[in-house]
Structure formats: C-alpha cells, structure tokens
Amino acid sequence: DAMVIQNPRYQVTQFGKPVTLSCSQTLNHNVMYWYQQKSSQAPKLLFHYYDKDFNNEADTPDNFQSRRPNTSFCFLDIRSPGLGDAAMYLCATSRDAGLIETQYFGPGTRLLVL
C-alpha cells in the first residue's frame, strides 16, 4: 500500500551524464515536491508542482528540471550532474498547498555521481 514511490532507490551516474529520477503517487494529491538532502544536511526544496503549475525555488540551479506528465507521476531531470549533486532526493506530495497541509514523503533516491 505504498503511497509515494520513488524509483530507483539508488542511482549511479557519471559526471555530466543526464539522469532522471522518478516519483509516483497513489494518493491523487494535487501537489508534488522535490527535495535535495545532502549528507548531514537538512532537506532543501528544489521545486514543486501544484497540479500542472511549476514553482521553482529561487536558488535551485538551472541544471535541475522537472516534469509532471500527469497527476500520478513527477520526474526530476539533472541535465549535467556534477559531483556536488550527489545527494538523497526526496519526493513528497500533499493534497493542497496550504499552510497546514501535511506532506507525505517517498523513501528517496540516493544519487551517486562518479
């Protein structure tokens, strides 16, 4: 009965080689988020989709892009991964984007850049 699913759980890519991380949800939530969490750091929001509306955080590098082809799926594309992009990437969903909405997280994809 997994609600937020992330594939793969571990991803290894080469420096500069584009990589795509996947997230799907069975909750039918309107909002999907992508967070980056580096080792011993706090998770940091990269961007989120409210339905089809894309909202980028001001300090998210251009190297990071996202697609949401339908309600259930959201992808994180890293166009040219650098060594500094190695991190855990967490996908989350919420029913709405209000102040008190709970976010539900997936297990994360750990990205390694060689």
Binding site: R9, Q41, A42, P43, K44, H48, N55, A92, Q103
Partner: protein, 114 residues
C-alpha cells in the same frame, strides 16, 4: 544561514524516560511548525504539528511546545520506546513564502535504549 536549527545531532535516552528534542528558528514569519520522523531507508513521516497561535499540542505520547518569544520549540516523547529510535526533523512554514515550502532543520538522531 540556517533558519531552522537543531543543535543536537544526537540524543540517547533510556526506555521509559522522557525524550526532549529541541529546535530553534530565526524567521518571525514562520507560522506553522511540524515534526517529522525518519527511519533508515524510509522517507520522513509526519508526526505532529503546531500553529503559531498555540503554545502546546499533544497527541498521545508526543507533545510539541512552542515558545514564540524565544523562537524555540520542543518535542517531548513520554514514555520513550525503542521503536521511537529514528531521526527527528523539525520543519517550519513561512506564511509569506513559497506555497508549501517546508524549511527543515538538519535533524536529531534519537536512540532509545532498552
């Protein structure tokens, strides 16, 4: 500069005793605070929240206290159980910020010893 700070990276408590996890914040625009719990290889799961108009919220063994004047909140777990061993993240929402944006602390790893 970190807006949400969890200054204790780890905490060890005996089973049956109280666990107190602390969190400080700097942004007076934060209006809503949440605690998430994270087990290894899983995503963070929502635990308890509190609005800035309250100073206490209780849910079973978990109580969150908010001291707005000190910009400090704490999570109390009583009694602590070995299954509570996890990383606990404090998070905050800015009423004037990006919709849905959670600002996380770095987390505190709680170990409850039998």
């Amino acid at each position: 500069d970190q807006q949400v700070k969890q200054n204790s990276p780890s905490l060890s408590v005996q089973e049956g005793r109280i666990s107190i996890l602390n969190c400080d914040y700097t942004n007076s625009m934060f209006d809503y605070f949440l605690w998430y719990k994270k087990y290894p290889a899983e995503g963070p799961t929502f635990l308890i929240s509190i609005s800035s108009i309250k100073d206490k919220n209780e849910d079973g063994r978990f109580t969150v206290f908010l001291n707005k004047s000190a910009k400090h909140l704490s999570l109390h777990i009583v009694p602590s159980q070995p299954g509570d061993s996890a990383v606990y993240f404090c998070a905050a929402r800015d009423r004037g910020g990006s919709q849905g944006n959670l600002i996380f602390g770095k987390g505190t790893k709680l170990s409850v010893k039998p």
